[in-house]
């Protein structure tokens, strides 16, 4: 059942992402990406295996030099999306384009170029650095793998990127455990920077750090972006961070993008009820700011074999018509305002904006 519903979604609709296809200003284009994890074995012809649909039909673009944010609760598939982009997970379906070229059909040289150009910084600065390697080897490893640089050249480049992230080149001989969390995250950034990439995937880059250090690291990331024209894919559950860093963002729920557009537009006037609820749950910038807390009924539905229709159906405070088309079929993202995309069903939109 779930299989046939999924097929009708993928190829029939226009790629649900802004811009023409392929756009010239997008460095990464993700189209109809899916990651389904099989749970338990099915019985041929009798029972299809269950699937955990971590990412289900996700499409978006990352433009050169921009920061694109992916937000959502834990388990909504944002980190899986990032791992799919990094080729750490094999997608179940869908395509990833790098500079207009499909990764799946890319030549070996193209894949190498992709590997060089797309780097990553992960959440936990303690787990991200091999404790048995010196900083010089950690930061130099990508250079060793992907370039023909000699030892002294690598040393020089390592020293340069260490300076760029605010560390001292003399610290290259130390081991990771001799650094604080913030410094370790700087080392991770230096490593990601070593190959002069075009895109860096940031998986909650500051959420493991002390609050006092977060701003420093975010500012460092912003400075590096300015200087090198880097594009960031930033996965985060912290809305304040996303608001500060991202030009555009997408809100995910249960493996599906619910709303996508300019960060400012989404923060100023969220269209989707889920987005509105997510923002109301975040702490305001000042304790005196009064606002209404919006609570959605029900709980996050299990991503194992979700219903074939709108995934938000079970959470909406509005009445759901069980015979409506979007109760049986997955609704697409619609461009409601220029550059502002949302999943539109009779029960998913914030009322004031939905009915003018």
């Amino acid at each position: 059942m779930s299989g046939s519903a999924a097929v009708s979604l993928g190829s029939a609709d226009v790629p649900a992402a802004p811009g023409t296809f392929p756009t010239s200003d997008a460095v990464i284009q993700i189209r109809n990406l899916r990651k389904w994890y099989p749970i338990g074995a099915g019985i041929p012809l009798l029972r299809e295996p269950s699937h955990l649909k971590a990412v289900d039909d996700v499409s978006f673009d990352i433009v050169y030099g921009e920061t694109f944010g992916l937000v959502g609760e834990s388990g909504c598939g944002k980190t899986t999306t990032l791992k799919l982009l990094l080729q750490l997970e094999e997608p179940t379906a869908g395509r990833i384009f790098y500079e207009g070229e499909d990764l799946a059909t890319m030549s070996a040289a193209g894949r190498k170029e992709f590997r060089r150009s797309v780097q990553a910084v992960f959440q936990d600065p303690w787990a991200s650095l091999n404790p048995r390697m010196r900083v010089s080897d950690i930061v130099g490893e990508p250079l060793e793998i992907a370039t023909t640089m000699g030892r002294s050249e690598i040393r020089r480049r390592v020293g340069d990127v260490l300076i760029e992230v605010g560390l001292n080149p003399y610290q290259a001989n130390l081991y990771p455990h001799e650094f604080s969390g913030g410094q370790r995250q700087r080392i991770g950034i230096a490593r990601a920077l070593a190959l002069s990439p075009k895109v860096i995937a940031l998986d909650e880059p500051v959420s493991a750090l002390d609050v006092s250090i977060r701003a420093q690291i975010l500012n460092l990331l912003a400075d590096l972006q300015q200087e090198h024209g880097l594009a960031y894919l930033m996965v985060s559950h912290d809305l304040a961070t996303v608001r500060h860093m991202c030009q555009r963002m997408a809100v995910m729920y249960l493996g599906v993008i619910q709303e996508m557009g300019n960060t400012r537009a989404i923060f100023d006037s969220p269209m989707h009820l889920y987005t509105e609820a997510l923002m109301s749950a975040a702490l305001p910038a000042h304790p005196d700011i009064e606002r209404e807390e919006i609570l959605l009924p029900g709980e996050v539905v299990s991503p194992i074999d979700p219903p074939p229709g709108d995934v938000f159906m079970g959470r909406t405070p509005l009445p759901v018509d069980p015979d409506h088309r979007w109760a049986k079929e997955r609704p697409p993202l619609i461009e409601k305002a220029p550059g502002h995309w949302v999943v539109e069903t009779p029960w998913s939109l914030v009322q004031e904006t939905a009915e003018p």
């Binding site: 990094l86 080729q87 750490l88 190498k112 590997r115 060089r116 797309v118 780097q119 990553a120 992960f122 959440q123 936990d124 787990a127 991200s128 650095l129 091999n130 404790p131 048995r132 950690i138 490893e141 990508p142 793998i145 992907a146 081991y175 455990h177 001799e178 991770g188 490593r191 190959l195």
Partner: protein, 305 residues
């Protein structure tokens, strides 16, 4: 000791001086605490004795004078010139110990080298690839536990005749599963670490990840397993020698010497006791050195010593 220091220092000046400059006795103590000095010295002495057996041994190892039968150790006041006594055919125990240690250490080192490399390799592959590769290797490990190695050794020795190579092969066969199991478990926990994933993001090949990121991580475990297994190997070799499928007599081995003396334990305890003591010293030293190495190889603990 240290906590009482400041109180004394306030009341008397000389006490303060004593605290500021480390006395030589404490410096020696610090070395003893940070390195397994006794274990290393003992092991080196035994290895030296084994290597230089030809120069050090006062008597030939393989034949003795029957009139020296069961000579009491001269070290303990016996009236012969056999330092650690003589066995039931009058062979000098000390000389046989030197040669026996050589054979036993050679067997142990050879076995650990072969079984360690094989087990580590299979454990890495098993943990990294998972799936049917893992399944196959782990079932092989289980199968090894179901095969009585001693019986296998007996059958092979009858079929092929006892030899040094056969002994190494059989002992290695019995030892590699211990390495494979430990290395597999360690690999499983290492392979999902963020830094391994980031190595893949940087474009590292599987071989590079295994050798640069996983192998150094499991090396400490391998060292500890190796040092702990040496004792088992030496004992297993003793057992096999006892059954006549180990090192072929009259070549002395520590295990063989213990079994030689088992009939005379009440009359001549020294025939078995001295090789037993040497085995115990070797095994204990290796255990202490193994523990020290494990801590030493972990850079996060290095700052603590």
């Amino acid at each position: 000791m240290t906590s009482a220091g400041p109180l004394q220092a306030v009341s008397s000046e000389p006490g303060r001086d004593a605290l500021s400059s480390t006395p030589p006795r404490r410096r020696v103590w610090r070395i003893f605490r940070s390195y397994p000095v006794i274990s290393i010295t003992l092991l080196l002495a035994i290895i030296f004795g084994a290597v230089a057996a030809d120069l050090l041994a006062p008597y030939p190892a393989t034949h003795g004078e029957l009139r020296d039968r069961h000579a009491y150790p001269a070290l303990l006041g016996g009236d012969s010139d056999h330092l650690l006594g003589a066995d039931s055919v009058g062979r000098d125990i000390f000389s046989r110990l030197l040669y026996g240690a050589r054979v036993s250490l050679l067997v142990a080192a050879g076995t650990i080298l072969i079984a360690g490399s094989l087990g580590t390799f299979l454990g890495l592959i098993s943990g990294w690839y998972g799936g049917w590769v893992d399944e196959a290797i782990m079932r092989l490990v289980d199968a090894m536990n179901a095969i009585p190695v001693v019986l296998l050794a007996l059958v092979l020795a009858v079929a092929l005749g006892p030899s040094f190579a056969l002994l190494l092969a059989v002992l290695s066969l019995g030892q590699w599963p211990a390495f494979a199991r430990q290395v597999r478990a360690e690999t499983l926990s290492l392979k999902n670490r963020d830094y391994v994933q980031l190595a893949r993001v940087a474009g590292a090949s599987t071989g590079r990840i295994l050798f640069r990121h996983i192998l150094p991580g499991v090396f400490a475990t391998v060292m500890v397993v190796a040092t702990n297994q040496v004792g088992t190997v030496i004992l297993a070799e003793a057992g096999l020698s006892f059954l006549g499928v180990g090192v072929p007599p009259p070549t002395p081995s520590l295990g063989g010497m213990i079994s030689d003396g088992r009939l005379y334990l009440t009359d001549a305890w020294w025939i078995s006791a001295f090789p037993g003591a040497v085995i115990a010293l070797i095994v204990l030293s290796l255990v202490f050195i193994g523990d020290w190495l494990r801590d030493r190889l972990d850079p996060t603990l290095r700052q603590l010593d």
